[in-house]
């Protein structure tokens, strides 16, 4: 009998996660194009263009990368492997890529049929993926683990399900005229809150508990912090949802503030650990991760301002700083570690001599792309206050994600060339 999750057979084929990683940046390019041709869409979070961009980013870029990464890390981190990874990846990737595109197009162009179709594909794909992941995790649960990561992964799944249910009910309101028991903007806020914190932040934190100490060689996150953080986020989200439903303003206010503080607590702790890394010369993705944490902190601050001020610019600025700056930055940094390593791993497992990671993807193109990323974040922030600059921000955004795509494609090509040209790895006894 094989041990759960450790066998090479449990490593999904290269093409299973990589298809998610390669299509993800294309959603970023689409967001850039929407900004270029969509006019002044950054003037309010309620413009069709802003809704489209948000969903291209969250349901397109972020969701695609996170699902691809989950396929890959579940065996390593949670001792759990997805059943039939290639088939699950094939079905869910297609459904969710088309679904995210349809959802964004439907929101941006005001096309109810496309919106509904996109939402059905997205939710359907998600259902298949999460069922398979839940099955894998339930098998992996027997192994025991000294981090909070497997538990927090489950919580992130739950947060994603709530986000999807809220989102789907909003689509039904918009396309089928279904009535909700609470005002529409409230449901939109809950949908965004569960998505940002319940799903994305909990998932990012679950990954960070393991990834930051190990790959950036820092001390571990304080145990009490990792024990309490994700349950505190989820509990606060539940309280906030109740406060909104019962229309208790004070509780609502406190819950949102508490969520902001929890987010800031995660970013602040991560920055503290990174500042004491034993790797004294941080590499470029590490710096990008730090930049993302600062951006998230700034985003929380702006979100707090938006509680007191009704100006339209604050929620948009918070969205830019948290989604593009925070989540976009950490995801980009992680992609630059994951993708070359996967290429290396699959070559090595095939018994071939693999080029080292910096030959598969050198530092220079990474550094250049990340410089564009910083420019893109800055331009987006300025464009929130100077709407006429939105098309310029769109150009930089499209270049940023196009370049990310090109860098990842470069790794895929390097792997293919290495597989063609490389001899067997010296001393290899792999048979895979």
């Amino acid at each position: 009998m094989m041990g759960p999750g450790l066998s090479y057979d449990d490593t999904p084929p290269f093409s299973a996660p990589i298809r998610f990683f390669l299509t993800a940046p294309l959603f970023g390019v689409a967001a850039g194009l929407t900004l270029i041709f969509g006019g002044e869409i950054l003037v309010s979070r309620w413009t069709p263009g802003a809704l489209a961009i948000t969903h291209l980013f969250a349901a397109g870029f972020m969701l695609q990368v996170m699902l691809g990464a989950l396929l890959q890390v579940m065996p390593v981190v949670a001792g759990a492997s997805m059943p039939a990874p290639l088939r699950i990846a094939g079905i869910t990737h297609l459904a969710m890529a088309l679904g995210a595109a349809g959802l964004a197009f439907g929101l941006g162009a005001g096309a109810p049929g496309v919106l509904l179709g996109g939402a059905v594909l997205l939710v359907g794909g998600l259902f298949v993926f999460l069922s398979a992941a839940a099955l894998g995790l339930s098998r992996g649960a027997r192994t025991g683990n000294n981090t909070r990561t497997p538990r927090d992964l489950r919580m992130a799944f739950a947060g994603l399900v709530v986000t999807a249910v809220l989102g789907f009910s909003l689509v039904l309101v918009l396309t089928r005229g279904v009535a909700l028991p609470v005002p529409l903007p409230t449901v939109v806020n809950l949908h965004a809150g569960w998505g940002w914190m319940g799903w994305a932040a909990v998932l990012l934190a679950a990954a960070s508990w393991v990834v930051v100490p190990m790959f950036q060689i820092t001390a571990a996150y304080p145990q009490r912090f990792t024990t309490l953080w994700a349950p505190a986020v989820t509990a606060t989200l539940v309280l906030w949802t109740l406060a909104e439903y019962l229309a208790i303003d004070a509780a609502r206010f406190i819950a949102i503030l508490a969520l902001g503080l929890l987010g800031a607590g995660y970013a602040g702790t991560t920055l503290y650990l990174q500042a004491h890394s034993r790797r004294s010369k941080p590499d470029t993705p590490f710096l990008a991760f730090r930049e993302a944490m600062y951006s998230a902190l700034a985003g929380v601050l702006v979100l707090a301002i938006s509680l007191w001020s009704d100006a339209d610019c604050w929620p948009i600025l918070a969205g830019v700083l948290i989604l593009h700056g925070g989540f976009g930055g950490t995801i980009t940094a992680m992609l630059y570690k994951i993708v070359p390593f996967l290429a290396w791993l699959h070559l090595t497992q095939a018994g071939l001599k693999a080029p080292n990671m910096k030959k598969l993807l050198p530092d220079t193109p990474i550094r250049r792309q990340l410089r564009v990323r910083t420019t893109s974040l800055a331009t987006l922030c300025v464009a929130v206050f100077v709407p006429v600059l939105a098309p310029l921000a769109g150009v930089v955004l499209a270049v940023e994600f196009g370049w990310l795509f090109a860098n990842l494609l470069r790794v895929v090509r390097a792997r293919r060339d290495a597989a063609k040209n490389a001899g067997p790895r010296p001393g290899s006894h792999a048979s895979a």
Partner: protein, 152 residues
């Protein structure tokens, strides 16, 4: 008394620290000190592998009845890391900073994903499946072996 998990996880972090030192010296172009740090790292890594391959993995195989499973994969990954360590040594001998950085990056990720598996699956299973006195005996003998390697 430390559990096997605590002892071995602590040793992983120790190895990480020595590795980071070698990496830093090489990136500064201080090849003489980098060579010394890399030797220290290689000794620590090999002592860790030896302790697992000669003591802990056989105990795991006996306790769980899994002889062709996780431990086989772990031994295979040890071999991959030994190969990458040799490539790292070769880059150091040539004083090729780019190659050294690339091989170091590869080894670091290889090492960390391997550590994750050991710390999530192998060590906790040893802690839970072995009888208390057996754990104590193994812990003491492995701790002594690792300590001697550091002192050497």
């Amino acid at each position: 008394m430390n559990t096997i998990s605590e002892l071995m996880t602590h040793d992983h972090r120790d190895c990480d620290g020595i590795f980071a030192r070698a990496e830093e010296l090489a990136s500064d172009g201080d090849w003489a000190d980098a060579a010394e740090a890399l030797k220290k790292f290689a000794d620590a890594l090999n002592a860790h592998f030896d302790a697992e391959e000669s003591t802990l993995f056989p105990a795991f195989e006996q306790a769980t009845g899994m002889t062709q499973g996780p431990t086989m994969v772990m031994r295979h990954e040890h071999q991959n890391m030994r190969d990458t360590l040799a490539a790292l040594q070769y880059a150091l001998d040539k004083q090729d900073a780019d190659d050294f950085a690339g091989e170091a990056e590869t080894l670091l990720i290889m090492m960390q994903q391997h550590n994750m598996k050991e710390e999530s699956v192998i060590y906790p299973m040893l802690d839970s499946r072995l009888p208390g006195d057996e754990q104590e005996r193994l812990s003491a003998s492995v701790g002594k072996h690792l300590g001697e390697a550091r002192a050497a």
